[in-house]
């Protein structure tokens, strides 16, 4: 394992210390329990937005804390859900009296830890609602699974709900908005190479020299199939087809797109994939209203990318344009 780290057990805390040091004007980090919080929290009268999950997906979630997005983020150990005490402390710290929205990716561990935390917060009189993101089309949903995984749409939901809270939406409305984002967002990813959890020391899976994992999860979970490497054109088409067919997206739709890097894929390749995606959408008369290209929801040093499409209405687009000031996403300020 080749990483720029000290003791693997200290990775999360030392990295968070660096995040805090790098962005003092935007956020603070509390260490006991661990959470990242807006420098100016709580904002009286504003609904608080809290997310969290395992670490190793940076900039998500800590890098999305700041004006116009998250009020706090709860980072767990690498690829491990945060714990109820973190979530409880963060939730109570950002409550400005209007209640707090939890944005949760659909993983059993995340759900159960946020559930326990919500019970504790409600016991303390803090109103909490939850939005569960489950947008990964790679895994078929069914009564016999924990359901679809939450991936890229989480980033868009955090931006849009953050803007809505900033505009004064009440808790019920922000939660409903978040669920609407989730209903209209779909994602699919692929891996060219695996990643290694520092504490584990070995790659989570192994790929042959010409093999990729189509539909990979952000923790390296297997997806739809192991297949041989193809051109960016073919791979982008395959991801896009899966995403487009699922909602389905149709001609005339306006969308927000995200071409997301898994961590080790150069920006040069992500722009190339975005170029392929734009051509696919143009051919279907789907209009791209806004686009993100870069590393937003990563898997440590995994090579690969994911595509997220959000079918946008006027409310989404208007909220998307609101100023946002976080380490990972910034405009208008």
């Amino acid at each position: 394992m080749k990483k720029l780290i000290n003791d693997p057990r200290d990775v999360v805390r030392e990295s968070l210390a660096g995040l805090a040091a790098a962005h003092p004007e935007i956020l603070r980090v509390c260490f006991d329990p661990v959470y990242v919080i807006r420098a100016d929290a709580p904002i009286a009268g504003k609904v608080g937005i809290v997310s969290g999950g395992g670490s190793g997906h940076e900039p998500m979630h800590g890098g999305f804390v700041g004006k116009g997005m998250l009020d706090a983020a709860c980072p767990g150990e690498v690829f491990t859900s945060p714990t109820p005490d973190q979530i409880e402390a963060a939730t109570c710290a950002v409550d400005g009296g209007a209640g707090v929205l939890h944005i949760i990716k659909n993983y059993t561990g995340d759900i159960m830890n946020f559930e326990m935390a919500a019970e504790l917060c409600q016991a303390r009189g803090v109103a909490v609602q939850a939005v569960i993101v489950n947008d990964d089309v790679a895994v078929e949903d069914s009564l016999y699974t924990a359901g679809r995984r939450g991936v890229g749409t989480t980033v868009l939901a955090e931006k849009i709900c953050g803007a809505a809270a900033g505009r004064g939406y009440d808790l019920g409305r922000v939660a409903e908005l978040g669920r609407k984002v989730n209903r209209n967002g779909r994602s699919m990813g692929l891996a060219l190479s695996p990643c290694t959890v520092p504490a584990a020391g070995k790659p989570g899976f192994v790929l042959a020299a010409d093999e990729i994992e189509m539909g990979v999860g952000i923790h390296g979970e297997p997806g739809r199939e192991r297949m041989s490497l193809k051109t960016a054109r073919d791979l982008t088409a395959q991801m896009a087809e899966a995403v487009l067919a699922d909602l389905p997206f149709q001609g005339g739709d306006r969308v927000v797109t995200m071409v997301n890097g898994m961590g080790a894929t150069p920006l040069m390749e992500l722009y190339l994939v975005h170029h392929e995606l734009e051509q696919i959408l143009q051919a279907r008369r789907i209009t791209i209203a806004h686009r993100l290209v870069g590393n937003y929801i990563t898997s440590l040093e995994m090579a690969g990318c994911s595509i997220t499409l959000l079918k946008a209405d006027d409310e989404f687009l208007s909220l998307w344009g609101d100023p946002v000031l976080t380490p990972g996403l910034r405009w208008g300020i």
Binding site: G54, T80, D85, G109, V139, E140, V197, K202, F205
Partner: protein, 210 residues
């Protein structure tokens, strides 16, 4: 023969060692059908439990298990944290007022723990989870108790049933947790959580048999 507060503390100390020793094994099992962290999670949790117990030794059985529960919930994370945390919360409640545990108490205690796990995780037998080790163990212990077996025998039956249940997860297709994302690809692998649950009972047996 009964299980004393000292016995319980020996069990918890042993659990730290056992999960440290089986850290790689559990993580490798989780690598096959999960995200390669179950061993790390359990090791981190029970190491923290020991630290807390020696820093602030609790007065009685109930508060010992209360401490175990809150420390696990605080330090394990993932799915196993809330599940084992809930397990020990229920165990603590089941110990209320007791200073030592007789056979009947032990059975009731593990049963309460498993019920907590099932309520928190909504898993049924056959879903390829820790429940597949815990539930058979509880049933076996109850039968053994009703047949009037000794505490040692009860624990032996429990551990044996947990081991069988753990091995029975191999051919199962996961319907809960991360492994369920693999669908049929989860078949043929032993469930990490069922394995850590077996270790929980096996270690109780080893710590209390004598």
């Amino acid at each position: 023969m009964t299980v004393s507060t000292a016995d319980v503390l020996r069990w918890l100390t042993a659990l730290q060692r056992v999960y440290a020793e089986n850290r790689e094994l559990l993580t490798d099992l989780d690598r096959a059908i999960g995200d390669a962290d179950h061993g790390t999670n359990m090791d981190r949790g029970f190491t923290a439990v020991q630290a807390e117990l020696s820093a602030h030794p609790p007065a009685d059985l109930r508060s010992i298990f209360q401490t175990v529960a809150t420390v696990l919930i605080r330090t394990v994370g993932g799915a196993a944290g809330p599940l084992y945390g809930t397990f020990f919360l229920r165990v603590a409640t089941a110990c209320a007022g007791k200073s030592e545990l007789a056979a009947a108490d032990l059975v009731a205690l593990f049963q309460a723990g498993n019920e907590g796990v099932q309520q928190r995780g909504k898993a049924l037998p056959g879903d390829k989870t820790m429940v597949d080790a815990l539930l058979p163990a509880v049933d076996a212990m109850r039968n053994a108790f009703e047949r009037g077996n000794s505490l040692a025998e009860i624990l032996e039956r429990g551990a044996a049933a947990a081991e069988a249940g753990m091995l029975a997860t191999v051919p199962m297709q996961a319907r809960k947790g991360r492994a369920s994302y693999l669908g049929a690809r989860s078949i043929g692998h032993q469930d990490p959580g069922a394995t850590s649950s077996y270790l929980l009972l096996k270690t109780a047996l080893d710590s209390w048999r004598s």
